[in-house]
Symmetry: C2
């Protein structure tokens, strides 16, 4: 039985330009940490990610949702978690504050993720294994597929998962090799050209075969110059992604995107406003064959459905600490599978949770095992930080979802 | 000079089924009330609307934005309010909580609306007159047109307003006749069939020529039955709108919408999820010539742009206490004018603020003077409640935007 929920406001200032991009010059990586206790002494930890100011609002909203769990049996909640999730996301007064976006949805993510973490800890298995051991019906019971009826009815979701079961063995090798990682920390916006070049070399030395550069400078020539520095440093075989963090309007994105094509970017990420579905479609057509990656700021399955229906996204970067947690992450991943678009999560969780989810996506859902973003700046704060060796995430074996933080008692709340 | 900001959390429980709809069974009409004081003794009041729980989160976020105004000259802020608005809506840490949606954007609405109210009070004119007395350039300086460059560049916005100036006199008659109102309080979801019929008769007696019925019942036959009650009671000359408050998924909306066509609804409002741009397009095509109305839950100009570009909305119901206040309301109204779609605001403010804005939209922007929603349940709480006589809003003459509340000291904060 769930005995109590405690929500903590954990903030980790960064230094020296780490985390900077065109829009966010001075982020403070922060978590709303939902701690869900059962009467057996287990504690489930669920995160939502913010950039500092306002994290206290998400914490307050998470307490609202979390209190609805106290006194409940977790296994019963998880047996039909999709229903519980829909009830919470449609709490009739709170719903006005979204619906299904912003502070309230981030808060629901933290509480949802705490449920999954506690569920896995109670069963003494890592989350990826818990998810893989569920039957297709059990997985779909954890999902809220409302407002997706015309593209992903329940029966189809079950069928998609069922069809992937026979070929699982062919994909389980990833558990031994590890899941490939790409390096986001090479090219933060405020790093100098010299730092950038040195970081690219270090990334190669560390075994990464893909890395990211932040763009969106006031002077587009800066972006082009730095993109060429990266390409010249890493050579043609390494995948280079560029990320504008929404800085451009549509005409700018078209103009600059065409110039960036010269360095053969693997994708252009968040070129413009994350709500602008049709602008992304126009842009994707204009920049073809260069592909767009988006989703870091997309809050829910309905908007992802729209992006997928327009065919504008080459890669979907759904983040389980932005959408409504693990449940909606899996829903969006199923949608992507249906539309044939790879899922490459944004890792507000620094990859701790997503290292589990990409394993499920690949083995259980048949998604291609592409690579997972890696951001190292918070590793010292996690009890079990993700282990990256020679450019690969090591498969986590500890029970739960790897989201426990050290020194949690030092945070308010 | 702006000397301080105080934010109050004002909540007004309703009784007897008032305010109920298919999604919101028990709303508590609530305002985040931003009170902006200058050193001359003026107080500007700005509202954001919520349904109760979580209003305190919006209040907290409004304090964050409001403090940025303390010590500033309001006239200087308003001279380039579009820049100020963009800076606030892109506050780099807070922005993560949206961007431009949810709790933080509601909060920005409250603070923005307080600026406009104080501006009008300082000039001792009602807000509609202040807006009409601005030059086209001055109006556009109050707007943030970013992310709209491909459809509404600044020069075009100025030109649109300039072109409407010569014909203003032909539209100023509305100041004397008043602006037509429609009655939303006739057909709340939880009202019995008998109440519904009595309310429809009362609406006609009170001079209304248009009214709304809440639909979205679990059994669609209930919706059809009640829609026929309304049509049979009011006759064929009265406009009847039906409002599902997002209750239906797309297949349901198509099926029920086709049946509701039998009563010739003037529009079908919020048929499905407010983020689902493409579903609304599919639905609009399926139900044509019945038109859709939407926007009550649409948080920003970018999403409105998408709706307008798909051509799915017959009526846009932008709400100045949902989007980023008066400034973004005018931006969206200009977009609608560009795309030839009428603006019929949702009135989370109970029409207090919008009675000013529709006068500006009609006289200053050339929008058709259709009608404005009327909801009477909070009138006793306003210092200057909107006056509706024989189905028309009386033009407000008191300085400001008519948003001052009585007994504000009784609320916390």
């Amino acid at each position: 039985m769930i005995s109590k929920i405690v929500v903590k406001d954990a903030r980790f200032p960064l230094t020296g330009g780490a985390g900077s991009d065109a829009i966010h010059q001075n982020p403070v990586y922060s978590y709303t940490v939902a701690c869900l206790y059962d009467d057996k002494g287990n504690c489930g930890t669920g995160l939502a990610f913010t950039l500092g100011a306002g994290n206290e609002l998400v914490c307050a909203a998470a307490r609202f949702y979390g209190e609805k769990l106290v006194g409940k049996e977790l296994t019963e909640v998880m047996a039909s978690f999709g229903d519980w999730f829909k009830q919470r996301s449609d709490e009739q007064q709170f719903r006005w504050l979204g619906p299904h976006k912003g502070v309230v949805h981030l808060a629901l993510a933290a509480v949802t993720n705490a449920c999954y973490d506690l569920w896995a800890k109670q069963q003494q298995v890592p989350l990826w294994k818990l998810l893989l051991d569920l039957t297709p019906e059990q997985v779909v019971n954890t999902l809220d597929l409302s407002y997706l009826e015309e593209v992903l009815p329940r029966e189809e979701a079950v069928r998609m998962l069922t069809e992937m079961q026979a070929s699982r063995a062919s994909r389980e090798g990833v558990l031994r090799t590890g899941y490939a990682a790409y390096d986001t920390s090479a090219g933060w916006f405020n790093y100098s050209d010299d730092q950038l070049e040195a970081n690219c070399k270090r990334a190669l030395d560390n075994g990464f075969r893909a890395l990211k550069l932040k763009v969106g400078a006031k002077d587009p020539d800066t972006d082009i110059r730095r993109a060429h520095i990266v390409r010249n440093t890493v050579g043609d075989e390494i995948k280079v992604m560029v990320d504008a963090n929404q800085q451009w309007n549509l005409p700018q994105a078209i103009a600059i995107g065409k110039k960036l094509a010269a360095i053969n970017p693997y994708w252009i990420e968040e070129p413009t406003h994350p709500d602008d579905i049709l602008a992304h479609k126009t842009l994707a057509d204009a920049l073809n064959p260069v592909k767009l990656a988006l989703g870091e700021h997309v809050p829910n399955k309905v908007i992802f459905k729209n992006y997928l229906q327009t065919g504008s996204a080459g890669f979907i970067q759904v983040d389980a600490v932005r959408v409504g947690g693990v449940s909606e992450f899996i829903t969006v991943s199923l949608l992507c599978k249906k539309f044939g678009v790879p899922v490459v999560p944004h890792v507000g969780d620094m990859g701790q949770l997503h290292q589990h989810l990409v394993l499920f996506n690949h083995i259980g859902m048949g998604h291609e095992a592409l690579f997972l973003e890696h951001i190292p700046h918070l590793r010292k704060h996690f009890v079990h930080p993700a282990l990256i060796t020679d450019g690969f995430y090591k498969t986590p074996e500890t029970p739960g979802s790897s989201c426990d933080l050290l020194s949690l008692n030092t945070f308010p709340g």
